[in-house]
Assembly symmetry: C2
């Protein structure tokens, strides 16, 4: 790397480095139990130096959670828009949710566990996003029941069960584990269709 490249990359890249270190430590220890000193240690600097790159501890949490929620919602919307068949739509939304929780484990853990420490209006925004997220599953399952493609007593309960099993992936997934992200996403897509009583591939 030339000096010019370093001069250009370092100022902009440093912010991302700080956020990434914060993300790792927030996920491992919890937001409230993480000190600015912990984050600084991970970067080999002193705590006050962090304030050259981020505004506050709270601002890091907000960036992490808002960005993660936006990505999960965008992936879900792409899955939703990719087909008009309810069976395929439910499978693809479940697949997207599982992949998000496998790829963005740290973000998912922090967003779910530390959402309560978000200052307003950020916290309300995240709850609202979550409502939209749930609604797309619920409406898809309700549509499937109306069309006769699915057979389940409560679309709401099925929605919550399908979402929660995907959220759980963030808690135990390891890159080095027995099942690949794709294997898990595929199987969980099948589970979702089984839960709602829909037709499956296998």
């Amino acid at each position: 790397m030339t000096d010019v490249e370093a001069a250009v990359l370092t100022p902009s890249g440093r912010h991302a480095d700080v956020i990434d270190a914060a993300l790792t430590i927030f996920a491992a220890q919890g937001y409230r139990a993480t000190t600015m000193g912990d984050i600084a240690d991970a970067l080999g600097i002193r705590a006050p130096s962090l304030y050259n790159h981020v505004k506050s501890k709270q601002s890091m949490l907000q960036q992490i959670v808002l960005d993660a929620m936006a990505r999960n919602l965008a992936d879900q919307k792409a899955a939703y828009d990719s087909t008009r068949d309810v069976t395929e739509r439910l499978r693809r939304m479940t697949d997207a949710n599982v992949r998000f929780h496998a790829r963005s484990r740290r973000e998912a853990v922090v967003a779910n566990r530390d959402i309560r420490y978000l200052d307003e209006p950020c916290r309300s925004k995240v709850y609202a996003d979550r409502g939209v997220f749930e609604m797309r599953f619920r409406e898809t399952i309700e549509a499937g029941v109306r069309e006769g493609a699915f057979d389940v007593r409560s679309a709401n309960l099925a929605t919550l069960a399908i979402i929660e099993m995907g959220v759980g992936v963030a808690r135990w997934f390891r890159e080095s584990g027995e099942d690949s992200e794709s294997a898990i996403a595929y199987d969980y897509g099948e589970y979702a269709l089984r839960i709602v009583g829909g037709r499956q591939l296998r």
Copy 2:
């Protein structure tokens, strides 16, 4: 209540009152964000007075989590031992897990979210208990696959999906909600059988 009854009940009942107040506030705010002053406020006393009833903030967390884990494990074991039919066994264990997470919402939230703040050797004990808990599901599903009662690619993935959807109940269940504890327990029992490809009642 007579004075004698009050004299007998108050000293022993006070410890339980403190734990219950701590449990409510731990669940709402998180262990690290809860101060001894918060718990004292809920009881109408001053923070130092709490130490007449409990040893420390940490000891309250340990009692709450250890007790909850023991109850969930005991309920699961009763379900496991109540039948030798794998289908009925899986249904009943799922039912017990859902009922635990609906009845002991606060305990479940604290146990799952704040387990990392448990001092050793308590933390290791809880992880070990969790291993036993998972193993009973895994073995039941594996047995069902061997017997031909279930049809699922990965017993491990099905185990995690079934457990996690039950854990999720603690996050949204309300006594006043649309579905009763029994309705949810029943439907989730069906979901579990559907996930593993087993026969269902409906």
